[in-house]
Amino acid sequence: MTTQLPPGMNIETVDDKIMTLNVGPQHPGSGHMRLIIKVDGDYIVSCDPDPGYVHRGEEKMAEYRNYIQNIPHLERPVIHDSSNILYPYCLGVEELLGIEVPERAKYIRVIAAELNRCIYILYWLAIYGIFLGHSTMFMWPAGDRELFIDLLEAMSGARVTHAYLVPGGVRNDLPSNFEERCLRQVEYFEKRLKEYEAVFYQNPLLKARTEGSGILSRTDAIRLGTTGSVLRASGVDFDVRKKEPYDVYENLDFQTIVMKEGDSYARSRVPYLEMFESCRIIKDALRKMPKSGSVRTKLKPNPKGGNDEVYRRIESGRGAIGYYIVSNNRPEPYRVKISVGSFRNLICMPYLLKGEKLGNMPAVYWGLNYWPVEADR
């Protein structure tokens, strides 16, 4: 007897040699998501990523709150990179409401964003280490991350969810002797970062597990629409900070890190090298920053946007984050759409994992810089 199935559904044929594994949804490392993996012996036959377990409705929530009240909840998707996820929102709202940002505030924002990028990458690197069974590489970045958390805490007053960037500038000026303290800690961190090289990146055990696995070619990287470090590890020179500079990035001295290989090793190394560039940006910004001046433009209470729409994007630790904001003469936005790097990089997973050994799965998965909470928003 054949039963009629609803359109779009089909019955899966079961092969005795193929086994199905569910990786997740109980927190495979960074948040709730599931990979449905089919294995033949030790080799992956197919992988089906299944996101959506941590959808929080950030976009809908943004429609009921005014432009300032939106700040605390919009940084929740990536609390480790909270300045960067707020950045495009602030840029967009400034454009909608026609707000000028003081010069000093622009530099402070760049410093906050770069400190936060380091916090994110260090956290990511710590998890990368423990995913590959390297517990030193878990302890070191997790400890060194404290240097940056300390700096951002002095700046903004909170350790993780800073709510520091606002439309019109930043919440408060830098504390006294911040420049000196920041320079000292960033310089120490650069020295420390060089030690990671021998213990992790030149370690033959890491190389054996990551080199040549999960190769994403340049054309595939572009075709699949990847972004951020994944794109740059496949040899595409694209960084929003360089290509569409926002705030003061065009005045600052840094390079885009590009690697040609496109394998897991390159994807693990690009964010690491980017931390050196972030330190360079921070030091340069501290040097070029105006030493005094206003840091926040005073807004009217409950500012209203006209009948308008904007799209602004920035480069975060996980790739480009874009905000599309529509306003309709009300204090609340009419629609906020967030486009995040994590979600766009997820699509590579079935392609990269096909034919890989199951043991290489964590390296490929985490190398994609995928953050479930951000992807589900």
């Binding site: 009921y64 709150r65 005014n66 300032i68 009240q69 939106n70 700040i71 605390p72 909840h73 030193t136 400890g143 404290e146 240097l147 300390d150 805490e153 002095a154 700046m155 903004s156 007053g157 909170a158 969810t161 709510a163 919440r171 408060n172 000026d173 830098l174 504390p175 006294s176 000292r184 800690q185 120490y188 030690e195 021998a198 213990v199 992790f200 030149q202 370690n203 033959p204 055990l205 190389k207 206003s294 840091v295 926040r296 433009t297 005073k298 807004l299």
Partner: protein, 165 residues
């Protein structure tokens, strides 16, 4: 062969750290020092003053009961409710003041930004845990108390590495 050298190098860089000071902060024996007395806000310039965003402090002599802090928090955490106080202040006819539920507060400090009368600031006190939910609700009288804190440890950096004190 190069693999063996690589592994020895990796081990060596770890072993060197046996002689390096420990970075761990021994909380609660040690507590980190913060800048200033907590996050404050100057309504005239519209700019805040850097500091830790911990528990709030309410200055009864300044609070007018205007409810702006509670309105600001409505879209964020709904942590502030206005309650009656048994005090008579000329500038606070309705005799209402904010009461904050720290079970809900996310320490964003936007209520401090909203207060136009220099009445609501934040302090360096972050140790708010309690055994009951009701103890997390701070009444205006509790919010007026200045916290007693001893936080003095800073990150120190020398040639033997970074450490906490």
């Amino acid at each position: 062969m190069s693999n063996v050298i690589g592994i020895i190098r990796a081990l060596n860089s770890g072993v060197k750290h046996l002689a390096v000071k420990r970075f761990t902060l021994r909380y609660p024996e040690q507590k980190l020092k913060f800048v200033g007395d907590g996050f404050q806000f100057n309504p005239e310039t519209g700019v805040g003053i850097a500091g830790l965003r911990g528990r709030h402090i309410l200055f009864h002599e300044h609070c007018t009961g205007c409810q702006l802090c509670s309105v600001a928090c409505e879209g964020i955490a709904e942590a502030i409710s206005m309650v009656k106080v048994h005090e008579t202040w000329k500038h606070n006819k309705k005799a209402i003041m904010p009461q904050i539920d720290y079970g809900k507060c996310v320490f964003c400090g936007l209520c401090v930004d909203a207060c136009p009368f220099y009445a609501l600031y934040m302090t360096n006190d972050y140790e708010l845990s309690s055994f009951t939910k009701s103890a997390l609700i701070y009444t205006p009288a509790q919010l007026a108390i200045k916290p007693k804190i001893s936080q003095d440890v800073e990150i120190k950096i020398d040639d033997r590495g970074a450490s906490h004190g």
